[in-house]
């Protein structure tokens, strides 16, 4: 079972690849839209890549509630457990 930090680090790598945000900026308290300037299409790509990477399913209605990096990491932890 991956730790919270491991999930955050893997997610940070995805955010970096998709949106070009420096991986170190992708911290739990950061908002994707407001702090990291990730637009809605990039968010779709990040969710998709995360589903593949962590072998979880993130339905659209859940995805729109994932405002911060911490929200996404917590969701992935719950879904993967």
């Amino acid at each position: 079972m991956a730790t919270t930090e491991e999930i955050r680090a893997d997610l940070a790598e995805i955010v970096n690849e998709v949106a070009g945000v420096p991986a170190d900026d992708v911290q739990l308290d950061k908002s994707f839209a407001d702090d990291l300037d990730v637009d809605s299409l990039s968010m779709v790509e990040i969710i998709y890549a995360a589903e593949e990477k962590f072998s979880v399913s993130i339905p659209d209605e859940e995805a729109k509630n994932l405002k911060t990096v911490g929200d996404a990491v917590a969701y992935i932890e719950r879904a993967a457990s």
């Binding site: 637009d39 809605s40 299409l41 779709v44 790509e45 969710i47 998709y48 659209d60």
Partner: protein, 336 residues
């Protein structure tokens, strides 16, 4: 029982020539931003679109189709009288009947050709190409003219922030004829009606008429739920595109050109990554100057690549169309 005779058929088919028509009026992002609350930067980063073309009143479905068809015929070195089948894909010919294909065949001089319209939205050019290939290989047709043509601006809500900058007008045509060697690979196609509401006309004509009679005069428009469409197009369609390459026996290393429906540059980019295509593969990016022209987008993009010299005759090209329905179709072709 006497066995029925079958028509003499060609072993294969290929595209012989491609032509396009781009409306005269260029509409840049600054003009779009007088209609919607947006910015050039927002539109470019969300879609890759710098400008698009909107048809003027005289640039009708018929007129744009004729211009594109004549160019395709000239490049194919095929006479109008040799065309025995005309297929037109459009969702913006505002007559329920007759099909526009018949009047195009007549004006062109393809006298007596079988002629009909298809409704396969942004997949229309690929649907039509698959049909043309089958018709030629069964002997039903010898030379087929397929036209993708749209005046999407007629059905665009110019105040809708999510679509006003996207939809545009134009026509693209291809002449497809017999060939000794395959120039059109097997089509991988399908539909998913469960997702029909993702892209649709806002209401049928009779409802709009009733509302107008009650004082709420308006016109149906196209509406789209962008994010789910983006996800479906970028990922599900990448798998379809990979299947089309497999079906044609082409590996990414053997592919020269990738020309997906010009829906959104971000979709093209995501598909390119998902397909793991080599960097040397030429990618159609006509959307930057043309917007999303639905069924016309692939032939217009191919024409642009061929006339600029970025792509050349004999190269292998993956085309894939996807859109309202949802419908999709992809195949590998050999460029004319």
């Amino acid at each position: 029982m006497t066995p029925l005779k079958l028509a003499p058929a060609a072993p294969a088919s290929r595209i012989l020539g491609i032509g396009g028509y781009r409306p005269r009026r260029v509409v840049d992002n600054a003009e779009i931003c007088t209609l919607i609350d947006s910015s050039d930067e927002w539109i470019r980063t969300r879609s890759g679109i710098r400008e698009r073309r909107w048809a003027s009143p005289d640039e009708t479905i018929q007129m744009m189709s004729m211009e594109a068809a004549r160019k395709a015929l000239a490049r194919a070195d095929v006479q109008p009288g040799q065309i025995d089948t005309v297929i037109v894909s459009t969702v913006t010919h505002l007559y329920q009947t007759p099909a526009i294909a018949t009047t195009i065949a007549s004006e062109l001089g393809a006298k007596g050709a079988a002629a009909f319209d298809i409704s396969a939205a942004c997949a229309g050019f690929c649907y039509g190409t698959a049909m043309a290939d089958s018709f030629i290989r069964t002997g039903a047709s010898k030379h087929v003219l397929i036209i993708g043509v749209e005046r999407l601006s007629d059905l665009t809500n110019r105040r809708d922030r999510s679509t006003a900058f996207l939809f545009a007008d134009g026509a693209g045509a291809a002449v497809i004829g017999p060939s000794e060697t395959p120039g059109i690979g097997p089509v991988v196609w399908g539909s998913d009606g469960d997702q029909a509401p993702l892209i649709e006309q806002s209401e049928p004509w009779d409802q709009a008429m009733d509302a107008s009679a009650d004082g709420d005069a308006h016109w149906p428009v196209l509406r789209m739920d962008g994010n789910p469409v983006f996800k479906w197009a970028a990922y599900t369609m990448s798998k379809t595109a990979a299947e089309a390459m497999d079906a044609a026996g082409i590996t990414p290393d053997q592919l020269d050109v990738f020309a997906p429906h010009q829906a959104n540059m971000r979709i093209t980019d995501a598909m390119f990554r998902a397909l793991k295509l080599p960097e040397r593969v030429v990618v159609a990016r006509d959307i930057a100057f043309q917007g999303n022209t639905s069924a016309a987008s692939i032939p217009l993009a191919l024409e642009a690549l061929l006339t600029s010299g970025e792509a050349s005759s004999g190269q292998t090209c993956l085309i894939i169309g996807f859109g309202a329905g949802l419908v999709y179709a992809g195949q590998v072709i050999v460029l004319p």
